[in-house]
Amino acid sequence: MSFKDLELNMGPQHPSTHGVLRLKVTIDNEVIVRIEPVVGYLHRGMEKLWESLTYPQILPLTDRLDYIAAVSNNLAYVLAVEKLAGIEVPKRAQYIRVILSELMRISSHLAWVGFQANDIGAITVLLYGFEYREDFLDIFETYAGGRLTINGLRIGGVPFDLDGGLIGRIRKTLARLPKRLHEVEMLLNENRIWKHRTQGVGCLSAEEAIEHGLTGPCLRACGVPWDIRKDIPYSSYEDFEFDVPLSDQGDVYGRYLVRMQEIRQSVRIIEQALDRLPAGDHIAKVPKILRIPAGEVFHSIEAPKGELGFYIRSNGTDKPERVKMKSPSFINLQSLPSMCRGGIFSDVVSILGSLDIVLGEIDK
């Protein structure tokens, strides 16, 4: 039995494909010749469904796209609707939105570190990542009542105000985080096995990354300093001071370092937002039945996975005519063949993990 041009199938059910993703892999004696992702196993017809729902009704369903960082989908959608309808969001609500977004980013990256480490074999880091994430899920539970898909925003603002108790809890959680991150880094950063498995694996140059339309931490790990929060700020991000972590290596190790640094920068942003929280309303006055005059808008944000955008076309009624979501994972997944080319088969799992894909976003 020869292993030349062997076609393998990493089927939809697999412990490491982060969801129902099918990969058709052709290998030639352990070197990858072709890799083809087959998506669509989680397709729920969301975009078509949204055409028959009103604008406020679509909002809880956008939670289910990137279900690990639910508020980022909500934020992109809500910003697009507010831009189209011309709704002005109060400053306090914008700051609370930033706080919620960044908390979601931290919890998404903690989950990512867990999954990536588990795929490479460090099974404890998975549990550590999820244990640290528990604190954040408890904050979301106290704020909005849910842990994963929280429906945490509303058109015009946020549903609840942040009271002193919750602010204190957020601060306590953030104070505990750096030491915990340091523990994970002691386990992984200098570990020779981790470095063997992640350095030089899945390399992509900056030009190739831009050509493929890669966004998010994967792009920044290739050395391209593009972060929508800095370059096209939305929801008062221009008021905050933070760095955009970059890495010039473009491999899995670089993406890991970038995401760990992003967690620290998110902590910085949240602390600034909590210090300078302005007084005001937490939601603007929005009519009960929201009718938006005909027009179209595209608005994108920097989600934890990349650039997440919503295109909405309205026709004067209370239901949109067409909603299209640009999901970062779908576009990032298309660079998987370039990253895997020339690598050996065991690397597919590490590279796929480092892309940080969520099938809910890809398949909608």
Binding site: L53, P56, Q57, I58, L59, P60, L61, D63, R64, T124, Y128, E131, E134, D138, E141, T142, Y143, A144, G145, G146, T149, N151, P159, F160, E183, M186, L187, L188, E190, N191, R192
Partner: protein
Amino acid sequence: MKKLIRFFKAFFLVDIAVGLGVTLKRYFRRKITISYPEKQQVLPERFKGMIRLYKDENGVPLCIACKACQRACPSNCFDIEGERNPETKKLHPVKFDWKLDRCSFCSLCVEACPTDAIRFSKEFRMSTVCKPALRFTLPEMYLEGDDLQRRLKGGPGA
């Protein structure tokens, strides 16, 4: 010199020893597991348990069958019909069908209700083995606690 230090660090497995030290410390730390069902977590105030209808302090149902919740729901969970009481001229529901299997716990109905009749409870034990048990009618929307569990286990009519 730096190269020599790096070589010795690699030779004496320093990075692996550091990792082992971290896990050994964690081995002895107290675990955060809550042993359910002996111990239970205190649920926050805004916890989104199962949707229930409520009555006011005199036992009068608060729902006025305005169908705001039906209009707000994105998942089509409600089927409500109301009737006007000829004496008090107030609306009250005669049919209030709610489907638990469609509910996504988004809270749009709770926010839409003008009389605070429909609210989240703290009930999270929602499992059952028969699908008809997930469809609730008007009197069953007021069940809570053990009655609710009996209804979920037994299905409609329990």
